[in-house]
């Protein structure tokens, strides 16, 4: 059976499953709609958090990025997992004890300020919105490449599914569909990795296979280091750039993870404070299964790619090569006219002579890192159903993250803006209706921007993580651990963090700033870390010179620090 037929079958089955789960778990109250009635078992919540967290980018792009970054890829692996330690230890249990629905709720109450609440809502909306548009694009790509449905229709179908279960079930529906989606995506990620690991190094566990030995008695990683050096690239397993930027990017991703509203809100859904800690542990375990497999996939696919195509006659290459060429994500140009594919690093000055001696005339192959995960099963020659499974997994990853983000958007509007600010007397029934309407509108707007992406979306990572790290993380942390922190300090800190990080990103991403102008060599992806430090410094200084927080707020801090439910 063809890949396309398999894809239709597997994607069809998974979509039917999501709809079935959604119908079984409809939300009836605002509490069910916002936080699933606080009745989610910690392991179930861990699984839902993992699906919520792992986006189209984690599933599709990350292994490919690592394949081309080598050691440096650690910034994503550490950055997108280490934040859960901060969440479990510093934020989740206290926010759960606080017991409301959203991050702006906490900021608004803790800093007794409507201004702080509104600033938090705007940040939450901006971060979630940039992020969700990227997911919609991922849905469109998966549909158009494998199901040969036009990009636009792919997004329309994706939007339709999310619309159905998010509007109907709110957090409750989303939670249980995310559990199903986690199972689909992790299965889809592991199956090809296990297959390839067995084929290459004879070990069914990719994490161990990564350190395994090839048939010829060399270690896989040693082999890849050699292949890279032979082609003029940097050695795969060692670092070649300054450590400071790597340090800052990793930190910004970690702190951003811990401050992202759609992740934090998942910890409001468990029954007890102790469950919030436990749940973060399970979430990280479920995430780690994918994140420790990704570097293995990266190495397998890079080795396979080099060995399959390099210096091989174009005419003899397998079918997948021309399939991907037609998408434009793989480009081949025969620069020296020998009919073979030469893939090497032509930017390396020290390698020019070697290449010339071999009659090479520039790198002839350009690979978009995004295709590595999707093309990997094809490159390794795995059966068609495995490829179809990967498509279903990519859709599960994109849809589950999109749903979580859309819920934050809708909650921000119906709860934080309407109920807590503009229309405090709104009835529960109308608030629920407003939540449903805003999620419906958000789904449609996200779909529209998925089809016509605005320019800023390409820089999701810098924006979402930079802003979350520079605003939410310090504000929440000081709100819990600093009894003396007051409204003036928090607002000043968040504003400085927001403005500094925002301007730095805008300057280097849109106004033509060049890397030699970076502060201390810190790239925009890592600047959130510096923004966070500034936030802390400004907040501490300002709070010293302004009045302490009122008595009821101090009581609240003591309350959230106390164990148990009272």
């Amino acid at each position: 059976m063809s890949v396309q037929k398999w894809s239709f079958i597997i994607v069809g089955i998974t979509f039917a499953l999501y709809i079935y789960v959604a119908i079984r778990s409809r939300a009836k109250t605002t509490s069910e709609f916002y936080v699933a009635g606080k009745g989610v078992h910690p392991i179930i919540n861990g699984m839902a958090t993992a699906a919520d967290w792992m986006s189209a980018a984690s599933f599709l792009s990350m292994a490919g990025l690592i394949a081309f970054l080598g050691y440096q890829g650690a910034q994503y692996l550490l950055g997108w997992t280490g934040g859960y330690v901060l969440l479990a230890l510093l934020l989740a249990p206290y926010l759960r004890k606080f017991g409301k629905f959203t991050v702006p709720d906490f900021i608004g109450d803790r800093y007794y300020s409507q201004t702080a609440r509104v600033v938090a809502v705007i940040c939450a909306l901006f971060v979630s919105f940039t992020y969700v548009v990227g997911q919609m694009k991922g849905v469109g790509v998966a549909f158009s490449r494998f199901l040969e449905i036009p990009f636009v229709w792919g997004i329309v179908i994706g939007v339709g599914i999310v619309f159905f279960y998010a509007v109907l079930g709110g957090m409750k529906g989303i939670t249980y569909t995310q559990v199903a989606q986690y199972c689909v995506l992790i299965f889809a990620y592991l199956v090809p990795a296990i297959f390839i690991s067995v084929l290459m190094v004879g070990n069914p566990i990719p994490q161990i296979g990564l350190g395994g030995m090839l048939d010829d008695g060399t270690y896989l990683l040693t082999k890849l280091d050699q292949l890279c050096v032979d082609l003029g690239f940097n050695e795969y397993t060692t670092s070649h750039k300054g450590k400071l930027d790597l340090f800052f990017i990793t930190a910004a991703l970690m702190l951003g993870t811990a401050g992202l509203p759609h992740v934090i809100v998942r910890f409001f859904t468990v029954p007890k404070v102790a469950d919030a800690r436990k749940s973060a542990g399970w979430a990280l375990l479920f995430i780690a299964i994918l994140y420790t497999t990704a570097p293995a996939i990266a190495v397998f696919s890079r080795v396979n790619l080099i060995e399959t195509v390099n210096d091989k006659p174009y005419e003899e290459l397998p079918d997948w090569f021309s399939n991907w060429e037609s998408t434009g994500l793989l480009k081949y140009e025969d620069l020296n006219g020998d009919g073979k594919v030469q893939y090497y690093n032509d930017q390396n000055a020290a390698f020019v002579e070697t290449a010339k001696a071999k009659g090479w005339n520039g790198n002839e192959l350009v690979v978009d890192p995004d295709i590595m995960v999707l093309a990997n099963p094809e490159i390794a020659g795995l059966p068609n159903w495995v490829i179809a499974l990967v498509v279903a997994g990519a859709l599960a990853a994109a849809l589950s993250t999109a749903a979580g983000l859309l819920l934050v958007i809708s909650t921000s509007i119906s709860h934080d803006l309407l109920k807590k600010w503009l229309m405090p007397n709104i009835s529960e029934k109308n608030e629920l209706r407003a939540a449903r309407i805003s999620i419906a509108v958000a789904v449609i707007v996200a779909g529209y921007f998925g089809i016509n992406p605005p320019g800023f979306v390409a820089e999701v990572v810098a924006w979402a993580f930079g802003l979350a790290a520079a605003t939410f993380f310090p504000a929440i942390l000081m709100g819990i651990f600093g009894k003396r922190m007051n409204m003036e300090g928090a607002i000043a800190g968040m504003s400085v963090g927001l403005i500094f990080t925002g301007i730095y990103i805008v300057y280097f991403k849109y106004w033509g700033g060049t890397p030699d102008q970076y502060f201390f060599g810190i790239s925009p992806e890592g600047i959130g870390t510096l923004g966070m430090l500034l936030n802390f410094a400004v907040a501490l200084v300002v709070s010293r010179f302004t009045p302490p927080p009122p008595e009821n707020v101090v009581k609240m801090i003591e309350f959230i620090r106390r164990p148990g439910e009272t």
């Binding site: 690592i66 050691y71 890829g73 650690a74 692996l77 550490l78 997992t81 280490g82 859960y84 330690v85 479990a88 230890l89 510093l90 249990p93 994490q207 990564l210 350190g211 395994g212 030995m213 270690y219 896989l220 990683l221 040693t222 397993t237 060692t238 670092s239 450590k243 790597l246 340090f247 990793t250 930190a251 102790a274 800690r277 436990k278 973060a280 542990g281 990280l284 375990l285 780690a288 994140y291 420790t292 570097p295 003591e558 620090r561 106390r562 164990p563 148990g564």
Partner: protein
Amino acid sequence: MSNPPKNIYWRTNLRYLGILLSIWFFVSYGCGILFADYLNQFRIGGFKLGFWFAQQGAIYVFVVLIFVYVYMMNKLDAKYAADHKKAGEE
């Protein structure tokens, strides 16, 4: 504050946090980034040690750290509850 059990509870919690976050920092930023080059001269199987920490090891330690904290806090919570009950009875 005239509530010693709570202060002890909070201070113990802060001590746990200090220890666990030091380990968190050491394995990721230390072993995975700052000392990675040095550690790369050692190997475990096919892995250079610094590379292994950066792309595998630190993540395993993260998972363990959270579950250790869960365990320690559950015990501390239980102790607090027991102390509290005793204080109530006296």
